[in-house]
Amino acid sequence: MSTDLASPIPLEGFLTVAAMLFCVGVWGLINSRNAVRVLMSIELMLNAVNINLMAFSNYLDGQLIRGQVFAIFVITVAAAEAAVGLAILLSLYRNRETVDMERFNLLRW
C-alpha cells in the first residue's frame, strides 16, 4: 500500500517550480511598465504560493488536507484582489490617460 501511494515525484520538485514561478512574479512586479502586467505578476506569485500549499498538503498532511483549504481561501482572496485591482486600474486610467507605471508618481517622495 505504501508503494502504491508513494509519489514518484519528490516534494522538492514542486517546491522548485513554485520558487521559480514566485521569482519570475517578483521580477515582473518590479520591472513591468504596464499596470495590467503588474496585476498579472501578482497572480503568478499567488499561484506559486498555492503550489507550495498544495504540495505540503499532499506530502506532509495527507489525512487532514488543510493546505487545500488554505489554497481555496487564497484563490478567493486572489479573485477579490483581481476585481478591485482592475477597477482601481480603470479609474486610474480614466484620470491619467495612461497605464505607464512610471507616470503614476503622485505619491512619490
Binding site: 501511494l5 514518484p8 515525484i9 522538492e12 520538485g13 514542486f14 517550480v17 520558487a19 521559480m20 514561478l21 514566485f22 521569482c23 519570475v24 512574479g25 517578483v26 515582473g28 520591472n31 513591468s32 511598465r33 502586467r37 498579472m40 497572480e43 503568478l44 499561484n47 503550489i51 498544495m54 499532499n58 506530502y59 506532509l60 498532511d61 495527507g62 489525512q63 487532514l64 488536507i65 488543510r66 487545500q68 483549504v69 489554497a71 481555496i72 481561501f73 484563490i75 478567493t76 479573485a79 477579490a80 484582489e81 483581481a82 478591485v84 482592475l86 477597477a87 482601481i88 480603470l90 479609474s91 486610467y93 480614466r94 484620470n95 495612461t98 497605464v99 512610471e102 507616470r103 503622485l106
Partner: protein, 208 residues
Amino acid sequence: MSIASTTQQICFVVLSATTVVGSLGVVLLPNIVYSAFLLGGVFLSVAGLYLLLNASFVAAAQILVYVGAVNVLILFAIMLVNKQETLAAIPGLLLRRLLSGAVCAGLFALLLRVAFTTAWALPGPPPVGEEATIRIGEHLFTDYLLPFELASVLLLMAMIGAIVLARRDVFTTDVITGEPADQGLIEKERTPLLIETTTPEPTLLSKP
C-alpha cells in the same frame, strides 16, 4: 493515484516546463494580449500540477476561478485600457532590470536552499486521494467555518468596491443649481492635479 509513476513524472516535467516558460512569457513579452493568453496557459498547467497532487477539487476551482474569471477579467481590462502609447525611455532601465534580476536570482537560490536542506518529515501520512473533496467540505463547515463566512463577506465587499470604483457616471444634483450634475466631470475639473498635460479640447466655437 491510478496512473503509472512514469506517466506522472512525464506529466510533472511537461507541466512544470509549461508553467515556467509561460510565466517568463507573461513577464517578458512586449504584447500584453499575448501575455494574458499565456497567463491562462500558466493557470491551466498549475491546475494540472494540482491534479498530480491528488487535489481534483482545487484543480477544478483553479480552472473555474482563474481561467474562467480572473483571466477573462484581465483580458477585458486590457481591451478597455488598450491605448497604443509609446513609453518614455528611462535612464538606467537596463541596469535596474539587471539588478532586480540579480535580487530575484538570489531569492530563488535562497528558496532552493531552504527546500533542499530542510529535513521534511517524509514520508508523511498517506494522502486521502479521492476523498479530498469530502474532507474539504468537512473542514469548511466545521473548523474553518468562520474564515469561510468571512470569505463571503470579503467577496461582497470586493464586488461593491469594484462597482463603485469602476463606475463611470455618478449622477448627483449640483449643490448650487440643483440640477443633475456629472460627478466624474466635476471631480476632474476640481482636481487638475491628477492631469499632467491638459490639452484644450477644440470646441465648436474655436473651430474656423
